[in-house]
């Protein structure tokens, strides 16, 4: 029972971390990035590849540095497509397919094991589990400090509320969007390093990541980081407890059921804004 509780916490933390980046981009920069899952898969592959020839911490740091640089650089593409929602969806899907193709080309279509960042355990608690929770809590706490206590954070909030008004107040949106992209890339990279060791990854894992991100986002509220936090733990606990108390085969139905319920009764999600129509 304690193991189930703890593992729900671990996965909930990972879900929250990976969805936070997606919703940050959506909430502040109004960017729908369907290549988000593919980007996470790329991080997992880079880390897994580097770890074959260097110590795990250095491999993780190198994979992080490269992927965050790539993700932030991706803003150059994203800034051109963010004015048009259909274009965003289409181009980000195309980028996801290109990344998947590149992974197949570079690493083959086979499954890969992603090594844990830390080995060993504390009693029955795996060290990787503990690390996942600690990193998620630290990063999300850091995010709320940035949002609430820093100038750039306040600028992000201002732009998320009303970009035109923020521009009139002298805020440079381009810099804020660049910083938002950097933060989102950082969240996605860290989330990938935390969750990938629990899985066996293949190039198609990108779509699994995207499924989790979209499920949590829809339940929590698209564009809402706070909502995604609640939804991440809700889905994680509901999955684990339904498997424990009902039947393990029920587990995959839980996100779908929650999504249908949310779409029926609260389409904007748990903490989503009232505006459900983007047009």
């Amino acid at each position: 029972m304690y193991e189930i509780l703890f593992f729900s916490l671990v996965l909930g933390s990972c879900y929250a971390l990976m969805t936070a980046g997606f919703n940050l981009l959506l909430g502040v920069a109004r960017i729908i990035n369907l290549a988000y899952g593919a980007y996470m898969a790329l991080v997992a592959y880079l880390y897994s590849g580097f770890s074959e020839s260097m110590p795990v911490p250095i491999a993780a740091a190198l994979a992080m540095a490269i992927s965050v640089a790539l993700g932030t650089f991706g803003w150059i593409i994203l800034r051109f497509i963010r004015r048009d929602e259909v274009l965003m969806i289409v181009v980000s899907l195309a980028i996801a397919l290109l990344i998947e193709g590149a992974l197949i080309w570079g690493y083959g279509p086979y499954q890969r094991v992603v090594p844990a960042l830390v080995s060993g355990s504390l009693g029955w608690v795996s060290a990787q589990w503990l690390l996942a929770i600690l990193v998620s809590v630290a990063v999300l706490a850091g995010y709320y400090i940035i949002i609430g206590r820093t100038i750039i954070g306040k600028k992000m909030v201002a732009i998320a509320e009303n970009a035109d008004l923020a521009l009139m107040m002298g805020i440079n949106p381009a810099k804020v969007y660049l910083f938002t992209t950097f933060l989102a890339s950082l969240f996605a990279s860290l989330a990938s390093l935390m969750i990938s060791p629990f899985l066996t990854v293949s190039p198609q894992v990108a779509w699994l990541y995207l499924t989790i991100v979209l499920s949590v986002s829809i339940v929590g509220g698209l564009g809402s980081v706070g909502g995604s936090l609640i939804a991440a733990f809700l889905i994680s606990f509901a999955e684990r407890f339904s498997a424990y108390y009902l039947d393990p085969s029920v587990e995959p139905f839980v996100p779908l059921l929650l999504i249908i319920l949310v779409l029926l009764f609260r389409p904007q999600g748990i903490l989503g804004r009232g505006a459900t129509r983007w047009a």
Partner: protein, 311 residues
């Protein structure tokens, strides 16, 4: 929502010369497809053409319910999944299979329409994209029931590759295309098109757009469900490959955007052409295939931009 909608589809209107052009195109397509078995002797090619015809029908239903209304649905293959699993997990009788696939398709259509009651634009697109992915996860996790990527074996009832199977599929495709073609020429079809232009204006005329969306998706889902039944029967197995949104959905989007989005006829032809192109591409390496498909995605955008990008 407003409740003054009169549930009549109205008289059939043939429209102007452009509509007559479409009608002529339908007649020509049907005539050409009718003589294919006389020109094609290869059973492989005939089987591939039969599947392409069914994909063309599914694409036409997508064009009818999604593109014509302006509700870009990224999870349409979910309907195929629901229809296929409902039918092939329940019975082995061909007649019952067709009926259950139609019911499953209609149910899938209802589920696809529901998010559209409150969401639109990219929110609706993202909400629908999640459905096939979750269904794939369920099919893989509950292997004992759904047989994951291996798939549920299909009872043999259709001799694949022969003229009998082709003409059965052809007859179904003709009837489906005519039903959709007639529907878009009615008042109902005009309302669907108007919704993509200005939904609020349609509502202000006393039309309950939620009912319109629901009915359009149920019609599309029913036809897509029967198409899936035939498609899976030809393929021999109901697996996650039928639900995978990539690349099927990309072909659907592209086919609908080639010419006259929402016009049904051209998306039907585009669906056939792109499915045959996909069969040709299967000889290429996976990475090259993905690169080509992603390039196609960009093309889609420029094709549909003028009509839907501003939503």
């Amino acid at each position: 929502m407003m409740g003054g909608y009169k549930p009549k589809i109205g008289p059939l209107r043939m429209g102007g010369p452009r509509a007559l052009g479409d009608f002529a195109a339908v007649v020509v397509i049907i005539a050409v497809l009718a003589v294919v078995p006389f020109a094609v002797t290869s059973s492989y090619l005939l089987s591939a053409l039969s599947m392409a015809l069914l994909f063309g029908v599914i694409t036409a239903t997508y064009d009818f319910a999604s593109i014509r209304t302006g509700y870009i649905n990224l999870g349409y293959t979910f309907i195929m999944g629901i229809a296929g699993y409902v039918a092939f997990l329940s019975t082995s009788s061909p007649q019952l299979l067709a009926l259950l696939a139609a019911v499953g398709g209609a149910l899938g259509g209802v589920l696809m329409a529901l998010p559209g009651f409150r969401l639109r634009g990219p929110f609706y697109a993202m909400a629908t994209l999640i459905f096939p992915f979750v269904l794939i996860v369920i099919a893989r996790t509950m292997y004992d029931v759904f047989k994951g990527d291996d798939g549920v074996p299909v009872p043999f009832w259709l001799p694949v590759g022969g003229p009998y199977a082709y003409y059965l599929v052809f007859s179904f495709a003709v009837v489906s295309l005519l039903v959709l073609y007639v529907l878009i020429r009615t008042r109902f079809g005009t309302i669907l098109k108007s919704m993509s232009e200005d939904e609020i204006l349609v509502e202000s005329n006393g039309i309950n757009t939620n009912i319109i969306k629901l009915v359009s998706f149920v019609i599309a889902g029913t036809i897509a469900g029967i198409s899936t039944f035939l498609y899976v029967s030809l393929q021999g197995v109901m697996s996650t490959a039928v639900i995978e949104p990539i690349p099927l959905l990309i072909y659907m989007l592209l086919a609908c955007g080639i010419y006259k989005p929402g016009g049904v006829v051209w998306s039907f032809m585009g669906g056939i052409g792109l499915y045959m192109f996909d069969i040709y591409l299967r000889g290429a390496t996976p990475e090259l295939r993905l690169a080509i498909i992603s390039a196609m995605l960009i093309i889609i955008y420029f094709l549909i931009r003028g009509r839907h990008a501003a939503r």
